[in-house]
Structure formats: C-alpha cells, structure tokens
Amino acid sequence: MRRIDTDESRFRRIVRGQIRKNLRRYVSQGELLTRQGGRVVSVPMPEIHLPRFTFGDRGGSGVGQGDGQPGEGVGAEPGEEAGEHELEAEVTMEELAQILGEELELPRIQPRGRQNVVTDVRRYRDIRRVGPHSLRHFKRTFRNALRRQIGEGTYDPRHPVILPRAEDERFRSFDVTPVPESSAAILYMMDVSGSMGAEQKEIVRNTAFWLDAWIRSQYRNVSTRYVVHDAAAREVDRHNFFHLKESGGTKISSAYRLVNDIIDHDYPPDQWNVYCFQFSDGDNWSGGDTTECLRLLDEQLLPKSNQFAYGQVKSAYGSGQFKHDLDQRFGGDERLVTSDIQDRNGILDCIRDFLRRGR
C-alpha cells in the first residue's frame, strides 16, 4: 500500500463523517438520486478546509492583467479565493448504505432460516503440477528445483544457480467450494390513483432509493420488481413506477393479488428472502376490498415474506384509513410494519421503522 492511500483513506473518513452529518438533508431532498452513476454516487459537499487566520474577500478586489477599459467586466470570476468550491465526493452504494445503517443504527438483516441458493465459489488455494505459466508458483517451483539439485549434487553454494525443470514446476489452482448465498426479492407496490400527487411520489421514490441501498448491501443477489395499481394492478419498470400518473379509484387487493402471483411464480419463498414495500395514501375503494386485503395478507403474503412494510404518505385527499385497518388487524405481528410519512423530513424515520427489525 502506498503512503498516499493511507492519507486518502483518512480523508475519506472525514468525508463519510460529513455525509453522515448531512444525511437527513440528503435523504429528504433526494439530492443523491440523480447523481447515481453505476455503483458510485457523487455526493456534493462544501470544500473541507483547515481554518486559518486569513483575509476575507478583499472587498472582491485585486490586481489583474489584460485588456479592457475601466468599467468593463473582467469576464470571469477573478482571484484565487473567489467562490467556495464544491467538493464532489464519490462514495459507493455499499458505503452509502453503511453510513445509513450507522446513522439509523440499523441491525444487520438475518436471512431467514430457509434453504438458500447454493453457488459455487472458486478460490485459488490449491497447487498442481500442470497449469498455465501465468499461474506458476514461483517460490514452490524454485524450492523443488533446489531440492532436486541438492539431491543430484549439482547445487554449488558458492555459485548458487538454480534451474527449474518441467518436473519442478508447480502451479496455483482453484478449488470449488459451494457457498450458500442468500438472495432477496424486493417488491414495491404503489398506489397511483388520483389522490397521489407528484410530491407523494417523490417521497416514495426517495424512500425506495434508500431501502434499496440498504437491502442491496445485505444480500449478494437482489431482484427488484415494481407494481402500480389504481383500481387494477400491473407490473411496470423502474422508470414508470416513479413517473406514472394514473387516476381513478383504488383497489389495493388487486396489487396484493399480482404480487402474490409474482412471488409464487418467480420467488419461491424457500429460496428467496422476500420483501414487500407498499406505499399509498391510505384510501381504499371499499371496506369490502380492505377485508379482502387483510385476508390476502394473512393467508398469502405475510407467510411468504420476510417483511411486509406499509408506508402511508400523507396527502390532501387520502383518508389514511388503511393503516388504521392494518394496525388493528395485525398490531404486534412481527412480519408487518406500518409507518406514517408526513412529509419529506419523515422519510428517514420511515426507513428506520421499516428496517429496524433486521428481518
């Protein structure tokens, strides 16, 4: 490791500390979502300084060089101390999830005690007599050659030349170890009926981003699916999930049925850790449909999921009745969490509610 790497990692610790300090702001403003490129998020933050006794802005004036008459604009921001530079700190999604976990004191998720998918992992920890030269084990090869030469009496300590032959060569080789791997499926459901406005969707979007980040940091293999519903439910891709604007009534049971089908079809619960996150403003079509929903939850979804989370976003039109119904029916059930999201500032608390059980 180079010395600069040590210093850089110390610097990154400071940056992480800054991100953690400003986490609530980043979460509620959704600043980071647009800055995600692949595995890396670039986080904007003010430049980090060592404070000094130093001049402030010298009245914004100084000496420059070039053409122009008095009164004409200089053309650019002058001076060295002009303007605060922004620092772009790049952090990986894993790091971001870790910061979130530290700040919210989230427990690590315990995968369910199910039979997990087994994958083969290759590790180079074996030695063979044949192999490609790129994998030649230098030390062993020469040790064997030395041993052979001593045996043959051709080794002269005053003139230590060792010439390995083909028979001396040893190569690194891998062996295959089966490693149980936990996989997770995240199923998002969102109410896109007329009462869910742009603000509510933005809140859902932010919440989903962070939920994703955390669950992805806990499993090697994560699959995400999106379901939207008004009176009827359908599966959409990520982009549509956040941008779709429907109108009309609300039948939550339609979404439950669809999600149930997806689980049965693609994510058999004996192999997958299933997470369901549902967002709605809490309005349902009728009491009858709610009864149906509760039945579906009880009989199908809850037994199949690690966790079923319901986030109720406050909107001007929603009655908020659904959460009430859920709490009444399943209050105290470990598998189901509900949370109220009043506004953007409530996102972080909602995430904590959803994830603090470590299921």
């Binding site: 850089e8 000496v63 008095p70 009164g71």
Partner: protein
C-alpha cells in the same frame, strides 16, 4: 524511475548550458514519473515521505480528479534540497522535457543563490522523512485520531510564524523572568513624606493615597515583566515554550513549525523565483537547447506558460516580463537620477547609454530580492501600462466584477499589498497573561482588510486546544477595534470602543 538515454543526454545538455550561462546550482536529480506518481508526490509538496495527514490525501484526490478531467496537469515539480530533486512527467514530449529541465536549473540556481533561501535546510528530504517517522511513532502510541486532531489544530496555526525572524536577531529569545512579588516591591518604593509627629502621619501621608500609589507602581512593574516582553509574531515558538503540552504534542507542533519556516521563503518569492526560472529556460532553450523542428512547439508551450487569465496575476509572466524589463533598462542605462529627471519623451525613447549591464543586474536581482522588494523596486509606471495591469473590484450597482482603475499610482500599492507578508494577515501575540488570568491576547495588525470571521473563530478554537486558557484576538472590522474570544465553551465578541490602528 531513471531517465531514458535520450533524456539523460538532454539533461546533460541543459546542465552544460546552465553552467555556461553562469548559473550556480547543486546537483540536480531528475526522476521520470507517471501522472499518478506525479500527483502523489505533488500532494506531498514534492517530498517522497512526509508525516501522515488527511490533507495530503485530499490534495491527491483533487489533483487526480483535475488530471482525469483534463483540467490541469503538473509539468514540473522541483524541491529545494541538496541534491535538488526534480520530477519529469513521463507523458511529456522531449521538447517539453527540455523546457522543464532548463526551468528546473533556473529554480535550482535560485534556491542556492537567493538570499531569502539562505536559512533553509538543504537536507529537507531527510528532515521530512524524520518528521514522518516521529509522527508515525506518536500515532502508534497515542492513536491515529488523537494525533490527527492535534495536528489539525497545529496546522490551523501554521501561519503564525515570524518569517522575517529568520533573517534578524530578535533578542536572545528568552524572557527575563525573575519571580517578583510586585506588591511588596512596590510597597518599598512608595514615597512617604517625613513626619515630625506621629499624629501628623494620616494627614501628610494619607493611607488611601499611599495605597493608590503602591498599586500604580505594582502595575508598572507588572507591565515591565509582561509575557512576552515584546509582541511576537512567532506564536508557535511561544506556544512550544509556554503552552501546557505533552511531549508528543510539543513534538508535533515543533514539526509543523519547522516545516512552515522551510516553506516560507518559497511563498515569499513566487514571482521572482518563477520569473527567474522562466527567464532561464527562455534563454537556454532559444540559444542552446531547442532544435529547429521544435521551435514552434516550444514557442507555443512558452506562451501557454505565460498566458494570463482574467482577474489573475500569473507569477510566471509577471516575474519573467519584469526581469526582461530590468535587463533592457540596465542595458540601455535607463535608470538613475538623470533618467528619472528627464522629461523629454523623445529623448527618453532614444535613451541608450550603451551600459550593457542588464545581465549582471538580473543576476543581482535573483540574489537579493523577494517578491515584495522586487515589485517595490522595479515596477515602473511604464511597465504597468505596457503589461496592462489593472485593479478590479465589484461594481456596487451591478455586483459584477469590473476593471476599476489602470492608474499606475494606485495599481502598484494594491499589488504590493497583495504580496505583503505572503498575502497573509500579520498577527502578533501581545500578552499571554491578559487580565492577569493567563489568557492569550493576539492582535491583527490590519492594513484595512478584515479577517474572515468564520475561519478566525475556528482558528481560535484550535488555539484554545493548545493553550487551554481563554484566547482572544483583536481585529479591525470596518475600522473599529473588536475583540473575538473563545473561552473553551462560548465564543464572544466585544466592541473595544475605539478605532483600530491601521498599518500601512
């Protein structure tokens, strides 16, 4: 990495040309490095090994980013050491390497001959490496976080040194500190009038009056043994001697101070130093080193080095042009009283005494001057006009930055102000026993420019970490004297109710 045979040849040629030009330099060792290595070395200020600190990592990150985005790359990097180490970027063309080598010989010569560099340690590579070892040892014993936090505090105070103190003797540095009981001493010195009858005593020598006088004398005595006896700018030295520091803390502070003094001459001579190196590379390249095929590329690179950006001073350009101006003036004898007093424009235009003294003068300038004295002595109104120097400032109506003035009579003082004390505020430690309570009292000797408050507040906190007693700094805000304080818990601001004394 060692040089390629071609570059070895170039280096030898540059070396010979530099000698022939009359330069005098220590051995120069060139290293060929990749951009990544260059950024790493540059982050450490050119030194291969320094003490561990996050700011080097931050600087490395910044350099890497700006290189990746094509915003900037480092051409040359040379350190003041014997031998002088210089780094060449592997990605440079051969012509660029020649240019850098010639430039580096200019710097090497400057480091050795410029008077302001005389007190610097020429084995600084070793010293820095030792600093690294010392700090690493403290890290092993005290923990990385503790040492780093303390270093942060020290580095915040880094500019509280006395740069000119390197060149003069200021007393012997030790305060005479006899332990006196001023009250008792004063009691002996209070004058009493002789009394014929004891009953007269209270009338001729009234008790209240005697006490007042005793207090006054005691106060004067106390004044006389102030700590420090004279205001000092070397706050770091004072803290080393008097602050309640653990051994490892004192060692860290000592390291920061030593390095600050090492770097100070470089900050003092940005313009002359870069100007001189550019002057040298221009001479060596055009007379000796550059081939016919390279000349256009060279001219292009040279021009890019000297390019100006709006609202900025390019030290390479200012220094280079000013040295060329000096050479020309002394070649033609355009200096001295006769020249100054000549009012005839035509005569001035044709003025040439045939003195041919330019090169000698330029060599003298590189030996004697720092930026401030250089500009003060040689920046003529003529030069300011020709180089199109101006003062910019904010237009109060539009808020836009505009050119305010091109009058040489105002440009020059402004420029000098920018280069006074390396562009840093002058701050003195006046009293370490303020209010007789061991509080530290600093004063900003203001030239009319206010300090940046948020930084100053944080710096006071850093100062408090070392001193552990309340700390104060007297600053000028819009001409009024104001005291900013930090007592370990709260920040304070007090209007001292008087005008600030401005220094000009």
């Amino acid at each position: 990495m060692t040089l390629t045979p071609e570059l070895v040849r170039c280096a030898q040629e540059a070396h010979d040309a530099a000698l022939a030009f009359g330069l005098d330099f220590p051995e120069v060792v060139f290293e060929l490095v990749d951009p990544d290595e260059m950024n790493m070395i540059a982050a450490y200020g050119g030194f291969p090994v320094r003490y561990p600190h996050w700011r080097f990592g931050m600087e490395y990150r910044r350099l890497q980013k700006s290189y990746e985005y094509g915003l900037g790359k480092i051409y040359e990097l040379v350190i003041n050491n014997d031998p002088c180490y210089a780094y060449l970027m592997r990605t440079n063309t051969v012509m660029e390497q020649k240019l850098v080598m010639a430039h580096v010989y200019g710097h090497a010569d400057f480091f050795r001959n410029n008077a302001w560099f005389a007190p610097t340690d020429r084995k600084m590579i070793d010293v820095m490496a030792n600093h690294g070892t010392r700090v690493r040892r403290h890290v092993d014993r005290q923990g990385a976080d503790r040492v780093e936090t303390f270093l942060d505090a020290c580095l915040s105070l880094e500019n509280l040194i006395d740069p000119l103190g390197m060149y003069v003797r200021r007393g012997d540095g030790e305060e005479p500190a006899p332990e006196l009981d001023e009250e008792r001493l004063a009691a002996g010195r209070v004058r009493r009038f002789p009394v014929a009858h004891p009953y007269m005593e209270p009338f001729i020598n009234p008790k209240a009056e005697l006490e007042r006088e005793q207090k006054e004398i005691a106060e004067r005595l106390r004044e006389r043994r102030r700590v420090p006896p004279e205001p000092t700018r070397d706050v770091l030295a004072f803290l080393l001697r008097h602050a309640p520091l653990a051994d490892w803390q004192a060692d860290c502070l000592d390291i920061v101070r030593e390095e600050a003094y090492y770097f100070a001459p470089q900050a003092m001579t940005k313009i002359v130093n870069e100007g001189w190196a550019s002057f040298v590379h221009s001479r060596l390249m055009t007379t000796k080193l550059v081939t016919g095929a390279e000349i256009v590329d060279y001219a292009d690179k040279h021009a890019a080095t000297l390019a100006t950006q709006p609202g900025r001073i390019n030290p390479y350009r200012l220094g280079f042009e000013l040295l060329r101006d000096i050479e020309e003036r002394w070649n033609c004898g355009r200096h001295g009283r006769a020249w100054e007093e000549c009012g005839d424009a035509e005569e001035r235009r044709r003025w040439d005494t045939g003195a041919a003294d330019g090169l000698r003068k330029v060599f003298e300038v590189r030996r004697v001057h720092n930026d401030q004295t250089f500009l003060d002595a040689f920046l003529t109104p003529d030069f300011i006009d020709r180089q199109r120097l101006y003062i910019y400032g904010r237009d109060p109506r539009t808020g836009e930055t505009v050119i305010l003035d091109r009058d040489p009579a105002t440009v020059k003082p402004k420029l000098l102000q920018q280069f006074t004390n390396m562009g840093q505020p002058v701050i003195e430690l006046v009293d370490a026993n303020h209010r007789n309570r061991g509080e530290l009292y600093l004063v900003h000797r203001s030239d009319g420019t206010d300090l940046r408050e948020d930084f100053a507040r944080q710096t006071l906190r850093a100062l408090h970490t070392l001193w552990t007693r309340p700390v104060h700094i007297e600053v000028a805000i819009e001409g009024k004297a104001v005291l900013w304080s930090f007592d370990g818990k709260d920040e304070g601001t007090r209007d001292l109710g008087r005008a600030a004394e401005l220094v000009h």
